[in-house]
Amino acid sequence: MRAVDGVSFDMMAGERRGVVGESGSGKSVTAMSIMRLIEPPAGEIVTGTIEFQGQNLLALPEDDMQDVRGGRIAMIFQDPMTSLNPVYTVGDQLIETIMLHQHVSKHDARRIAADALGDVQIPEPMARLDDYPHQFSGGMRQRVMIAMGLSCNPDLLIADEPTTALDVTTQAQIMDLMLKLAEDRGTAVMLITHDLGVVAGFCDTIQVMYAGGIVEYGNATDLFGNPQHPYTWGLLGSMTRLDESHTERLHSVRGAPPSLINPPLGCRFNPRCDFVQDICHDSYPALRESGRESQIAACHLATELDLNTIDVTGVVGS
């Protein structure tokens, strides 16, 4: 099964990129591949290159990769309870990371760790270093993960659904904190999420993934304002909005995402697309200019379709 198939993209230093898509679209596998966290027999990277600051990560020996992982590229995950070891104190785990990547004494590492907890606004950071993960709430644990991720000043932070397990008021706190820290330090962030609302407030650019490939890329304002791919368009139409009181039906995308074991021929979105034509069954569309600057879409019809003029209520989709 190809979980990710022919995905290519660039990220600039300091850029905040949103990677959005539904479950099984390949967003996490993309991130895990960058970190080289996918190992046989679970899976393997068949072809491709991942270049980070001029180095091909896929060609690096494992020892060098360890320096990159957690040092220059850090990653935080959805569930802070399973990513922290319950039998070690938070301080032990932070100090371990710091000593692995920076050549400092244990005493200094402890001070850096306390500073890191202070940066993520955990009160009394020095005392809390000696607490175990279960003594922190969900939001506080995610702050610890962010502190750990940022403790070595990475150039890229990959955040995989960092707020999905949290309540909405806690999510707002965490996103606000991540935005401040990333801006202050110039850290590039790749934010992986299924929540289009979260990326809207955080990211400069967005790539939408579907069934293992990127279907649309653009800067945040353009992509939300003028989606060029029918999937992006359908996804935005499926969303209920806090600021809109619509009593009519939602324009949903019909059907369900395809199985990647036996994906549809041609465009993988064709079984669910409202605008499908013969060409969509024949060939896989490459990402191409959509007629709008800064925006590319993997759709044969991208230049012809003007999705914004379509009356949503007239389109079937249940």
């Binding site: 539904e22 806690t170 299924h194 407030g201 499926s238 909005r241 806090l242 369900a256």
Partner: protein, 358 residues
């Protein structure tokens, strides 16, 4: 600023207006905290729901929102008597005859087993997790027909016909009766759960986070289905969710819970456009909107800290420890009652104020 809800002002059973399907009155649910291995001793109690009162009109959707630990699911389970309420009353106006001599309005919280068994035909629930709420060893036909068997409806053939009808109603193929839950996707499984809830023609369906586990595009399909079913069958929904934008889409009225108490109840658009309680303000300002330009302009009210433990809730106003408008000597000493500040708009705050958040 008019009425204060006092138990005395709540009308008796006899005067439940005919358009009200269910009235909840001072509902309390406590869970004991026990210690000891052999001789378990109760050392305290968590009050998950602390005296909430509201009503739902026939054919209406009431959205019940709140963060984890606010008591919304516990409240719903008490209303259905899936949990035993500690105190309070729940009045239900029955819509069918049931062939038994039940009064037109039944008090559910203290009803006996036999009465509850009959009333279960009128009230059903759809759960959040479509993977955990369907028995993996049962076929779709046996899952959906189980309520019919339990309540002795029809012959085996009639039941199979009914199951096929129900599957059609929820948008599944009637040929799928012999399949097992694992053969369906999350969205389809949730449809099976809805078909099961519809089997006995209930008047009230409690929807406990029915779309939270689903992807956005599938979520929209299920929300559309729920709206269609309500139109066709005249169903009344109690819709529990933490996603405030979903609640705005589906509800007629919205109630906000915080640490076991109702803090604000209002008509849908009033709640979102003119919220009055500081907690509602914070909650609404925290929900992201998929619109980058709007997100840039919006102001966020960031709450300090986390939701306190329900085992040891703050005194007086339970929100006072995190409230940006906290007034010392008032909010921490006197509990604000849920008052009707404008017609149909209730809030429990000493210093309510309309605030527009987008």
């Amino acid at each position: 600023m008019t009425d204060v809800i006092q138990p005395a002002t709540i009308p008796g059973v006899g005067d439940l207006p005919s358009d009200v399907l269910i009235r909840v009155d001072g509902l309390v649910k406590e869970f004991p905290i026990k210690r000891g291995v052999f001789f378990k001793k109760q050392i305290g109690a968590v009050q998950a729901v602390s005296g909430i009162s509201f009503e739902i009109k026939s054919g209406e959707t009431l959205g019940l929102v709140g963060e984890s630990g606010s008591g919304k699911s516990t409240a719903a389970r008490c209303i259905l008597r899936l949990l035993e309420p500690t105190a309070g009353n729940v009045y239900f106006q029955k819509t069918q005859d049931h062939g038994a001599d039940l009064p037109p309005i039944v008090e559910i919280a203290h009803a006996d087993k036999q009465t509850m068994r009959i009333l279960r035909e009128e009230m059903q629930i759809v759960f959040q997790d479509p993977f955990a709420s369907l028995n993996p060893r049962m076929t779709v036909a046996s899952i959906v027909s189980e309520p019919l068997i339990v309540h002795g409806v029809g012959s085996a053939e009639e039941r199979l016909e009914k199951v096929k009808d129900l599957l059609r109603v929820v948008g599944l193929s009637p040929e799928h009766t012999n399949r097992y839950p694992h053969e369906f996707s999350g969205g389809q499984r949730q449809r099976i759960g809805i078909a099961r809830a519809l089997a006995l023609n209930p008047a009230l369906i409690v929807l406990d986070e029915p779309v939270s586990a689903l992807d956005v595009s599938i979520q929209a399909q299920v929300l559309n289905l729920l709206a269609d079913l309500q139109d066709e069958l005249g169903l009344t929904y109690l819709f529990i969710a933490h996603d405030l934008s979903v609640v705005r889409h589906i509800s007629d009225r919205v109630a906000v819970m915080y640490l076991g108490k109702l803090v604000e109840v209002a008509d849908r658009d009033d709640m979102y456009e003119r919220p009055m309680h500081p907690y509602s303000h914070a909650l609404l300002s925290a929900v992201p909107i998929p619109d980058p330009e709007l997100e840039l302009k919006r102001k966020r009210i960031l709450l300090e800290g986390d939701i306190p433990s329900p085992a040891n809730p703050p005194a007086a106003c339970r929100f006072h420890t995190r409230c940006p408008k906290f007034v010392e000597g008032h909010c921490d000493t006197e509990e604000p009652m849920l008052r009707e500040l404008e017609p149909g708009h209730w809030a429990a705050c000493h210093y309510p104020e309309v605030q527009q958040l987008f």
